[in-house]
Symmetry: C2
């Protein structure tokens, strides 16, 4: 049996009772922390709180999957992951391969940034359109996908959730805005001047930072340590969204003009 | 202080350690179960596991908010809710009003159906467009919003998450499909014949039911007890989404023709 256990958003206390039960009953506990990270803790602390040895798997072993699957054919294997499992495609591949081999697959869900952002900002969940990830630029080349997704969402008055790359280190909102500015230079359009966004840092912790402003201004706001994510707002807001942003995210007064 | 604690998806074991800690330290614990329900448990069981008295608030008292806010001005108040807090607008109103009165507001996030559906189906989270709720019909009148949202999402090749109304009782997928059929009659369009969807029942439990098929066929599939939700697929799938649906959701072979 292969059980994915989602550890949630921030630290070792974001795991559920169901997750803890699965960990206690497992024959072996693996951890994978390259698709998602818990910035409020470290694996040793997790192991200590859970009173279990955790074998951290390097990226290659998760992607290859052979070790985990061979193990899961014989005994109860738990794979710990940040956030909610299977949002990363690597987990989906692993689950598919396990099922093909006749291994029972279970998921114990964890908190996810997808819904946490609604709670922290007061934005309506149904108004989010397709999301995108802002990748670190690769030399001179910059992916235009996030910019295109924002444009497409704005056409149907949808918010855009932008995840920030965590490859080398977790990207910060200031860097993400600079990358958006680079994208705008390439496409020679002028969306950014009127673009309003909300930056969110350390969702899941007891001191998250949430700030709404023109996207260009968010570059200079001190959000503190990662993880950071950002939402680019639809052009028209529900009046309750505007009020929530004013109160919960210190939005500028101009935001009231966006109410439809 | 007002602390929203998300109880997660299914039963009393879906609460996080952080949530339990907040409950232990609270002066009073309220529960609100009309915006979201935990079908795998009941409040008494929750109270027993948490070893705390829980005062269930009727809808009026949550919407009115005066009792909770007056309390939170003087002491530590925890409000337990199903899923992840503040996805319901009632919670957002309460948080805004609390902050206006100078009451500190904290959110302890819970598992959410938004991300759980990605894990259970293997669908890519970034491909979800705006979502909608299928309401119970009101006499002869039927809201066309969900149908319009599906149409809009299909134009940009996005999946549509459809939440099902829980007003009188939790709506089942079979009823939701019948309501979609009614909508189609009204708009006189023919999207439904080719519409492929995935039904998901009891997300968060250890025996969820997940089935992909033409939406019309899902009407006759036995998903078992609620909660039910449904995703209407984009017209084009990533090859990994198609494979995941075949293996994890017993999709018909034709789904492979949807791979872009």
């Amino acid at each position: 049996m292969l059980i994915f256990v989602g550890l949630g958003l921030y630290d070792e206390k974001d795991v559920t009772l169901k997750g803890i039960e699965a960990i206690k009953n497992a024959d072996v506990v693996y951890g994978e922390f390259y698709t998602s990270r818990l910035t409020g803790t470290h694996p040793e602390k997790l192991a200590q709180i859970l009173d279990r040895e955790i074998t951290i798997l390097p990226r290659e072993e998760v992607e290859d999957g052979r070790k985990i699957l061979a193990d899961a054919e014989k005994r109860n294997v738990v794979l710990l992951v940040g956030g909610d499992p299977m949002v990363a495609t690597t987990h989906v591949s692993l689950a598919i391969e396990a099922r093909k081999r006749g291994i029972d697959v279970k998921i114990i869900h964890g908190q996810s940034i997808m819904s946490a952002v609604c709670g922290l900002t007061g934005l309506h969940s149904y108004k989010f359109g397709r999301s995108a990830t802002i990748p670190f630029p690769y030399g001179d080349s910059v992916s235009l996908t996030p910019y295109e997704v924002i444009k497409m969402n704005k056409k149907v008055n949808a918010h855009t959730m932008l995840y920030l790359d965590i490859k080398e280190e977790p990207m910060r909102i200031s860097a993400a805005v600079r990358i958006l500015e680079k994208m705008e230079e390439k496409v020679e359009e002028g969306l950014l001047d009127d673009m309003v966004g909300v930056g969110i840092a350390r969702a899941g912790s007891m001191n998250p930072s949430v700030k709404c402003d023109y996207v260009r201004n968010l570059k200079d706001y001190d959000f503190g340590p990662p993880m950071h994510v950002m939402v680019v707002l639809a052009d028209k807001l529900h009046f309750m969204e505007a009020e929530a942003l004013r109160i919960l995210a210190e939005a500028p007064k101009e935001i009231e003009q966006m109410v439809e």
